[in-house]
Symmetry: D2
């Protein structure tokens, strides 16, 4: 059995950082070597610095094993590893991630900071694995030995996975998507309980813009050294609802080929993209779980399947305005964050990006 690849985690104490910790504690390929947090927490024990919010049982083993670990400062000189996962907010990410990339690491980032940079790949392994080619562009352009590789915003991840087979088969022309997003998407403490309970918050700062632009990049076409964004429009309404984990979206879509809801359903059910057949440890066997029940998918029942890595689609039916509509659902801090980022790293490794480094 090959030795596991050492890993540094940036932003280890937040809600997404904790999900990374829980997943990495049992990962067959990666071994958590450095837990980094903001410099003021460096030197303190992980368990003291973080308010643990991952429920048992996922939490138990990880937390027991790592609670006593000492947090490091996010500095590539003292916390070096060939692979870096970043759960940083965009502000710190903009400063810190390039330091690690310049020092030679592949930085798998959840932050929005570099997602839309032309030379940074924005990847969902099942959707656009070929965009990994931007790593070479980026290295040339920035003269880095390492690179930054991003996974999309949590809501975008759910939407793009549901749209990918439709775009491939029928051609997406327009999308109207209304999200009902979980509280964990805002981190901890994030949304005040007073604002959250029994309420709908009709606005999430910056979210609609991300959903609109990242989807176009993800479903765009690689044109040698750049991504030609998909030329359909996405209109997003992003709402926060009193749910802990799991973003639900009501989606209407116009497809060039004008297929029936039945044809849409068949394509979604049959989708087995290459990345689902590569044996990547975090990949669910079937990325899209299509539900038949009229009251599914539901956060309360479905979001935990395949350790939060499946995306769920249901209620596929005709839309009198755009042609087809459906509901989709995914786990925002697993598939939409930590698990999604790990999956990109697993793909990068399978494609040889981890061994080809000098």
């Amino acid at each position: 059995m090959a030795p596991r690849i050492p890993v540094t985690l940036l932003g280890a104490t937040g809600v997404v950082g904790q999900r990374f910790v829980a997943r990495l504690a049992e990962h067959p390929l990666f071994e958590l070597r450095h837990l980094c947090a903001s410099p003021r927490n460096a030197g303190t024990a992980y368990a003291e610095a973080c308010t643990w919010r991952v429920p048992a049982p996922a939490a138990d083993r990880a937390y027991a094993g790592l609670g006593a670990c000492t947090l490091a400062a996010p500095d590539p000189r003292t916390a070096a590893a060939p692979v870096v996962f970043s759960a940083l907010d965009s502000g710190p990410a903009r400063e810190i991630e390039p330091l690690f990339a310049r020092a030679g690491a592949l930085v798998f980032s959840n932050a929005a900071a570099f997602r839309m940079a032309p030379d940074v790949p924005l990847i969902i392994p099942e959707v656009n694995p070929d965009h990994l080619a931007l790593v070479g562009v980026q290295r040339s352009a920035r003269a880095w030995e390492g690179a930054i590789l991003c996974n999309p915003n949590c809501t975008t991840t759910v939407l793009a996975l549901a749209l990918a087979p439709l775009h491939e088969t029928f051609g997406v022309e327009a999308v109207c998507a209304t999200s009902m997003q979980a509280l964990s998407g805002a981190g901890h403490p994030g949304v005040s309980g007073l604002d959250a309970l029994g309420n709908v918050l009709p606005h999430i700062q910056g979210e609609e813009q991300k959903l609109e632009s990242e989807t176009q990049k993800l479903l765009g076409r690689l044109d040698t050294e750049r991504i030609e964004p998909a030329d359909f429009c996405v209109s997003a309404h992003c709402n926060r609802v009193p749910v802990i984990d799991g973003h639900t979206l009501s989606v209407s879509v116009r497809l060039a080929a004008g297929p029936s809801p039945g044809a849409v359903r068949e394509v979604l059910e049959a989708w087995r993209p290459q990345a689902a057949r590569m044996g990547l440890p975090s990949a669910p066997p079937v990325p899209l779980c299509v539900h038949a029940g009229t009251d599914r998918p539901q956060v309360a029942l479905d979001v935990g399947r395949d350790r939060g890595m499946s995306v769920h689609v249901g209620r596929i039916r005709a839309c009198p305005v755009l042609g087809v509509k459906f509901t989709c659902l995914g786990h925002n801090t697993e598939r939409g964050a930590a698990g999604g980022s790990l999956l990109v790293a697993e793909l990068a490794r399978a494609r040889g990006l981890l061994s080809e480094r000098p």
Copy 2:
């Protein structure tokens, strides 16, 4: 001061029936004479038969005064009154409401049973008061002395109030609406707490169809003896979220005139339909409350304004797919049910429909 008009209430014990009771306890024009419930409850005290769910303070006076009242059977021979309000479910409504209408009463109904019948007016006073003319058609067609007058489904009410000034000014061509609906819309017990808490239910039986067809009838044109439905399409996604009272909708709309978001906002703010200027006791002074804050409207803050009779609009902005988008919100058991029905009765009275009866 004129004597108040005696009133019979059908379906007095349900969630909507209780809202009627609370409003009628203090109404200047109507006097609650008969509280009817299902025959098996006839003869028992109101307080015993119903699980009161209207919070203090609205509840206090009504409940104290009426708790000891004896429930009557829903029979026009023993519970006659010139005005009847119906909070019945559609099944019983289909049987019972015609009995009262035939016996000479004006029946103001919340039920879906007759809403789409061609000779039954479906009314929001600020939106389509002229549709009252169908009362004459109905009486001729059915040889009834009374008549049935409906208010729309709770979700439709909110959407139609927001669309009415836009349709009048700019011409609505297509609407994509995603609702996040409150639990009280399903009555009591309605949705199980296990299904509701921390969850999004992506389906509400029959709701999308109602939202699509009732909106067209409401914004349709009276053509002598019939309503020509508005010829735009509505696509509805209806979801249930963990909120007690208040339906929120994310709406995208295509308008023939292609106005800017600013022009849409001005029209919504300036809208003062005739019914808002007639002094109807339940009418809010301004039917649409347009919010400037990016995080408004919110159920938790706004739904109780004007005793639940205002509809709230906010986040008016450009939609890359349909042109304009916004969020709207209204109180489903007040404006969307009991208050809405009372307002129709107040309009009917102001238009002389109550005095012209033989």
Copy 3:
């Protein structure tokens, strides 16, 4: 009609401050003159500095009227008034409240800072109005022209109102109380939505100690110049539950006279303390509302009665361990905070404390 007494409000932007603003906007005796917030917010408009969390309709008039007011710094030289209400946290209260008291104002404080000081009256008007006598002691001791008068912690207020008639009639010997407290008790943002939703938090910093000691002071006996605390023990378990407003307590109590539950019920129902008969504007006609239904009191139904100023008691029954047990409930930011403080001020005015000042 007498002119209203000018009032300064400290801590105007918080959850309790907002409740003060809503109540003072319509108060017959007091007129809000200065809205103070932390110095960094001085000079900005009230609406900008505060995240308004008081729901409509209570909020509407106040907020419309005061949103544009400019916030003042909490300085008695520039924001002087004969009456000051303080919604400050304990830290700032310890610094700022004495400045106003020294400058001659009667400071009615919600903060914990001075509640247990021997020369500071801790008052619930219906419970211990005679403790007002400490004002004279305080002025002598501190050489202040004004004084600080406290109302108790929100949870203590609910418990002490329920215990007061029992202690008077039967003699309280021991109390076991478990609270299920609302989120608003922690202010805004206060408890994270992630921690609150679908959860019970079994600890509230400092709360149990307050409930145990403040209850003894409130039900203590005035002995010329000091309060002899009541000599019974209170054992408190304080929990946070996902409720917006309203603290519920499960209480077991041992009474010296060993009365039956029926006798306890009669005493609670019959209680009409002097302060309830003085016409104080914020006083509910009956301070304790005793419920007969086995499923009452309930936050969702009862907490809003009398604008949140009643305390509710129900499920009075035998306790096999301590003798009698019951459930009680009160509105934590109204009776337990802003409304409670206003009521103390109304009592002080009725007792001549406001006019006797030099």
Copy 4:
């Protein structure tokens, strides 16, 4: 490897029945042979008859495997098995469980129907395994080949596990316990979402009486052919709070030996009853998980540990009224229902009760 013992499940479609199905789908000793529901559902597929409420991932495998199974009528002639698990309500349980016991099955029952019968063992394996001796008494008294064995009410299970080591070591003299119980304890649909959300329901029918009497039986002493109930009093306040799974209790206790909180903590931490060392498949390695953090245990973080089979204790401290107080927490439909019942069956098998049958 020994063949698995065939099992019949009564009440398979309810919330507890579903937990049994999920656990039995992967059980090493028992094999689900007959899924029984009410006679009107006999013959329909399991997936059609039940509204599945067990979240993924626990649900996935079980549901996929069993959804197509046909439901049987609860009749021992057609659905016979040596082991029967019952998730029936008390009414049906009173009729149906004896039919199976008479026919020779060991019936492991969650219902309240027979728990307090003098010849029926009420068992928590870690607490009172010796009470199994009542099986012989029951068989003689009732001339049954089989027998009924009960596990306690869900709330009682949590309390009794926390009290057991204290009673053994220090002698319990009195207990005041306030529960904050999850919605799933009332089944599905159970509590209406309208009653549950943002509310505390201060009463649960029959619950307080069960908590008071079952605890005494569980901690009672086996005296040859009968149980001498423990002679301490339990006073229960049972409340429903908006939580999905997990009952939290605030407990004050008087102990004869008057130990310090530290001594209590040590005893709870050190407790390793025999049943925890027997290798029973559903037994957690340590039945009581003692938490050090002042804000633990929490439903949201802790209830899922060891697949819901641990009971959690925290905040152990002095109680000024009874001596010691703490918070405890357990999973009501796992440890408190399906898992608890399975554990009794595993104990019975380990003690030879399953093989000694004729």
